[in-house]
Amino acid sequence: MLLKDTPIRHKLMRAILLTSSAVLLITCSFYFAYEFFTFRNTSIRQLSILGEIIATNSTAAMAFDSREDANEILSALKAEPHIVAAILYDKEGNPFSNYPLSAKTTTVLPKSDFEERYSFEESYLVGFQPVIQGNKRLGTLYLKSDMGAMYERIRLYGIMAVIVTIISFLVAYFLSKNLQKSISKPILALAEISQAIAKRNDYSVRATKLGEDEIGLLTDAFNQMLEQIHTQNQEIQLFNKNLELKIKERTYELEIANKELEAFSYSVSHDLRAPLRSIDGYSRILIEDYGDKIDDEGKRTLQIIVKNALKMGYLIDDLLAFSRLGKQNVTKILLDMNAIAQRVTEEMVAQNYKTSEVTIEPLLSTKGDSSMLRQVMTNLISNALKYSTKKEKPVITIGSYHENDYDIFYVKDNGAGFDMKYYDKLFGVFQRLHSPSEFEGTGVGLALVHRIITKHGGKVWAEGKVNEGATFYFSLPVF
């Protein structure tokens, strides 16, 4: 496991333990080395003192050549158990006396060992001490000391060092385990809170601050950020709620307005028709029943009344059809536009426009509301027929093409056309570009076309030139 991926607790503990172990190891090593050298030096010094004392004591015995005295002096070495052997040599280097007495030797001391010298040989400390009286050399003292004690002590030190290291390590472990918490705990708490927020999207929770250190600052900043997000969220929610409320209000108002409009169109349809019927009906009765008593001018006047009553009736019907369209839903099905155009054209040409020549090019089939598109075709074709009646040879072309996901249909005539200057008024309700004496009409037909096509998600447009004809286009989306 990589160190950068381990939890922060482990990282902290590892750092603390490694540091304390290293310190402990270095300390122990130095102490151990110090002890080792101190002990060696002490041993050498002690042995040399002993050597000097014995050498001094044995000068008399050597001077008088008394082996007994020399043996006695050496036997005092019993008090020093670590002295395993001692030999007194005379000035020629021949053994004179030895300790213990049983270990007799005959080896002559080589001249090289006549100098004072203390050194370690294998696991023993050996010393050569000259025996001197005044400036007269009497002999040499040889001492051999066992270093087992020293090694014993060093081993003890080693064991103690290991025990201390283990105990220190354990103490360091438990201490670090507890002490790292003051650092890792607030960080872990922060991490936990941020994870909880990410999971639950609850920005109302806050991290608990555990101190005034850098982590405390971090916690403060974190909480501040949360506070800001929370406030912003609340603002957005409030804003949304207000918006929803406003939409509801507007929808309600619109519904009321729509209902009022419906009620209005209902009463228009019912109440405005009745008086018209009476105006028309009773004028006719006047003509029928009292015709012989009214002169021609009177009859003409009555006819005008009748004609206008009828016209108002058509106006009301068209207006109602237009307003009713707002409530109707578009039910799209695949339509055979050829069949629709043909039937509409046949009906109208047969009725009023026998001289007109109508060409229907093969039309695209498209999706739309059957009755609504029939109405569109009726209005456009009847307009084309109506406005071209004054031409000697009225020619009308109905066609279609496909462009950018739209099916586009057009009705083209060579009739009166219109001035593009007044294009804005073309599709407005009750807007007319011709006077009733020129061409009859209520001014609702194109407005109705516009409304139907818009409801289908399409567009209506036109091109025209005065006395050269007009082309009306409508597009329907293909999907």
Binding site: S269, H270, G281, L310
Partner: protein
């Protein structure tokens, strides 16, 4: 209205006297004027049909051959009259023709749901209107056979 309240073939329920005048004139032209009775609101119509109040001399079994019913009327409107007639076993089979100025889809649907026999929108033009009334009279009184 001077006609007898008995042996009525056509019951005209119409609040507009001018419209009623036109209807009566046309029915007279085809000789149905004598068996016609005109009432100008829905409450009167129900009293007439069920032989109540002012018309207590009448019997409910003495049914008209057809009722020409306007929709928009004061007090009790045409749809209410239609519902009451259709809810009663004694009167539910009387042919009822709604004659109204309203082309509203909801009126047509509600009338048919209540079991109207025909729904006629009064044309504005006199010619069409007289033609419609004459045809209605001819059909319901002379051509149609309804249960007695």
């Amino acid at each position: 209205m001077t006609n007898s309240i008995h042996d009525v073939d056509v019951l005209l329920v119409e609040d507009n006297p001018d419209d009623a005048g036109l209807v009566i004139r046309e029915l007279k032209k085809i000789n149905l004027g004598n068996s016609l009775y005109h009432l100008s609101d829905g409450a009167e119509a129900l009293d007439f049909i069920f032989g109540r109040g002012e018309f207590s001399e009448r019997k409910v079994e003495d049914k008209p051959k057809v009722i020409l019913l306007d929709l928009k009327m004061p007090k009790v409107d045409g749809l209410e009259v239609l519902r009451t007639i259709r809810d009663d076993d004694r009167t539910k089979l009387i042919p009822v023709v709604v004659m109204t100025s309203s082309r509203e889809e909801q009126d047509i649907i509600r009338s048919y749901s209540l079991g109207v026999n025909a729904y006629v929108v009064k044309p504005v033009g006199f010619d069409n209107f007289s033609k419609a009334v004459a045809e209605l009279g001819m059909f319901w009184i002379l051509v149609n056979q309804s249960p007695r």
